[in-house]
Symmetry: C3
């Protein structure tokens, strides 16, 4: 069992995954959900289980902006109400309804609210300025990982694993660089400034356009509960101001599928102001980063989960290193929020 | 956990599946059973677990009408008694026996009684007049479905799912036709008379030999506890008496393997009186119906089961439509019988 | 759940499986263990779960005789102490350690002690004179079996299953021969002397170099707790002293992986004194015996386990034949030792 934070927005899907043409079934916080768009293009998210015989609605079809159960043709509208019973006198039983989850579209994603609907305020969806398509080229990806979502949060907030898990990004300057963190209200920053790198990998030089001489590069991650992260990867000729450098802005967002599996949504972005060739750069970036995610991070996280099994991570009393400060702060904030909900 | 009706006959296999040449292992009501024929051709059904080291007897062989354990050669006769210990002085321990389940052959099937053997009366095996090979051509099939057997009963008793799950059988006249039910003692009828069908599918016209003009067609299902159904699919030129029409008679029989899986036995039949070409018709029918069973019904039932998980179906408080009346009546009768057994 | 004997040596691997070049992860008594050799070639066995984030150390690498965690580069030495924290000030938390299991090398194998380390005395590793490479040609093999290790012990101690499970080794003389057993302190002998065999299989004649005339052959198994067996397969022209015959000496050693799975280590040996061609004979033997192990014994044992499920074997009240005497004696000794440990 896993206690999830309920009164918060989770990413259910990328916007382009949800259409008027097809139903998308996806388990979120252990609950089967079906997603689609109604005739007005508005996203609908309903419990993916007909209250009649419990067939998954996602096996059915979209009819007039409603979802029709594959088994007996009951239709449910966007509010979750049964609006059509094709049988007998067509009377609709009082209890013929499914939960309709509040949803909102923002930052190219569908956000879903699994908690008290009265508390669902789209204004509380986190802001990611670089996820605005007007100003940025954005390439998106997603992945299923067989590990608890907080192991994923640990992974991104923890900038110390680079030289061990992703050696191609490394250099002695990386290993020398300290990992620091800052708690900013209910958000957490994790930072690693790798300064005066004399021997960065060639492709890193290329990305930051510093063909020779020492390079200052940095990774700054900003976390918001429960599992939203912005990652800023920057570089500049050593000694210059960071502001003069090139910064790649990434989104890393995690949604619990179950206690031991996670929907991972990620995006690479570049400012349109930097020129139209950036449209291609973000596509290259997202392809280039798929390998490390899939072949280096995911295997570790899934192996951690196998070693943890059904136990509670903190109950197993992990030892805490200074590099865990950001991740531990994030866990503490999430736990506090979950406890506040249970009151 | 699933409470099964014990004192009743279940179909263990089609007769032709059980031979003198080979052992057949099959789990029934959660119990491993081995089936074979002795020298006289009589069917034997024993617990498929040697009392010595618990090896499955079905991995052994048939020797002189006995089953020989694959591991140490203990032999058990049709009554379940160990009759041969090839080791040492050959003494047979008192407890060296397995349960021998009452069996009977009828309607081309092997029927097994998992309850109190004293109560096993072959006369109580349900009667299916069209399953008599003397008068009918009969084609049989079977399938494993990962769903509780009562979901299968619901499926066949419920004649309202046709236009949603099996659209090729449908037409507006089908959708207009009401589903009715009758309770007849401890049996249940479910009926759908689809009258004046102006636009039946072509192959339906062919089956019922009504090449043009409106067609009256009907589906009548008769259920007996726990999971035996006869399905009568008839058709005739509209307005004529049903008796003048053509009727296809089908058997749909379900045996619980576990709480969440089912052995499905089905048969298509045609009267020999209708001519020798009917021998081929039943073969075509059974092949034609395999597709809808396997690709349309089974995926829904298995998806229902996944959504239900280990919970009790009724405890999940499904909403009840009028089309569920037959299925609900059947569930009520089965539950009453199970409760009567537990007293 | 399975109660294992803890204060005893188990075979963790064949010596050649564990090197200075690669980490070997293996679950033993439900505990993940990582095995490798340090710079001095000494074998190290540690819990295969970093105390920091619970990643498996076996996914990491060997650095200076230490194992480096794949995730954050913590290094643990052979005693299980963390000796290197590459992050921040490099301070090593007090609890940064893993269990180091006592190990010893003997008989071409790595022996591991999962119990109280203070009690681990390499002198208590069982003696197998024919497993000394100085005097014997030795061919080794291993196999994973999905069955409890005591089902494996039963299997080897039980010499009565030959004619049923391994018919190619059989003949009427085998079936006539009685199985006897002797309890020798805390060890058990199981014996089957098959005398005057007029019709042994041809390859058996060849093995024992008795091309014609009746053959005396025998199988003697010696068991030591918890699961170490020496099997002596001998043959000689009928009537001659056993001492004049040819004897093949085999090791059959079992290590519990979990309650329902086992690491099976086996070896075929021949005295070097019998000539250099014996080097090839042991290779042929081990290949020849792989088939019966894998295709005849393992399927039965795995099917037993499926029929037993999670239940306790003895709690299922198996019937006991005289041929089970050796196996039952072994179980009694193991149970007694386990009970002694729990006091």
């Amino acid at each position: 069992m896993c206690n999830y934070l309920k009164n918060t927005w989770y990413v259910a899907a990328w916007s382009e995954e949800v259409t008027e043409a097809a139903l998308l079934g996806r388990k979120i916080l252990d609950i089967p959900v079906v997603l689609y768009r109604d005739n007005a293009g508005e996203v609908v998210a309903l419990t993916d289980r007909c209250p009649h015989r419990f067939a998954p609605l996602s096996m059915g079809k979209i009819v007039n902006g409603c979802v029709e159960c594959p088994y007996h043709g009951l239709r449910f509208n966007g509010s979750g109400a049964c609006v059509h019973n094709p049988h007998g006198d067509g009377r609709i039983p009082d209890r013929a309804k499914v939960i309709s989850y509040p949803v909102a579209e923002k930052h190219l994603a569908i956000w879903i609210w699994m908690g008290d609907p009265a508390a669902a305020d789209p204004a509380s969806i986190p802001e990611f300025e670089f996820m605005e398509a007007e100003d940025y080229y954005i390439a998106t990806g997603s992945m299923q990982v067989e590990g608890n979502y907080m192991l994923e949060v640990d992974n991104i907030l923890d900038l110390s694993h680079i030289e061990f898990v992703h050696p191609i990004f490394s250099s002695p300057a990386v290993s020398r660089a300290e990992v620091t963190h800052e708690i900013d209200g209910e958000t957490v920053w994790s930072k690693r400034d790798m300064l005066g790198d004399d021997t960065p990998p060639d492709f890193i030089r290329e990305v930051f356009n510093v063909p020779e001489g020492p390079l200052d590069r940095w990774l700054h991650v900003h976390w918001q509960a429960p599992a939203y992260m912005a990652l800023y990867a920057g570089g500049v000729a050593a000694g210059k101001a960071f502001e003069e450098g090139i910064v790649s802005r990434q989104a890393h967002w995690f949604t619990p599928e179950t206690a031991t599996s996670t929907h991972y949504f990620y995006a690479m972005t570049e400012p349109k102001a930097n020129g139209p060739h950036m449209a291609e750069v973000v596509q290259q970036s997202i392809q280039a980063l798929y390998g490390p995610f899939k072949n280096e991070d995911a295997p570790i996280i899934e192996a951690q989960q196998r070693n943890i099994g059904d136990e509670d991570f903190m109950a197993m009393k992990p030892i805490i290193l200074n590099v865990d400060a950001a991740g531990m702060a994030a866990r503490k904030i999430v736990d506090k929020k979950i406890q506040a909900e249970s009151k």
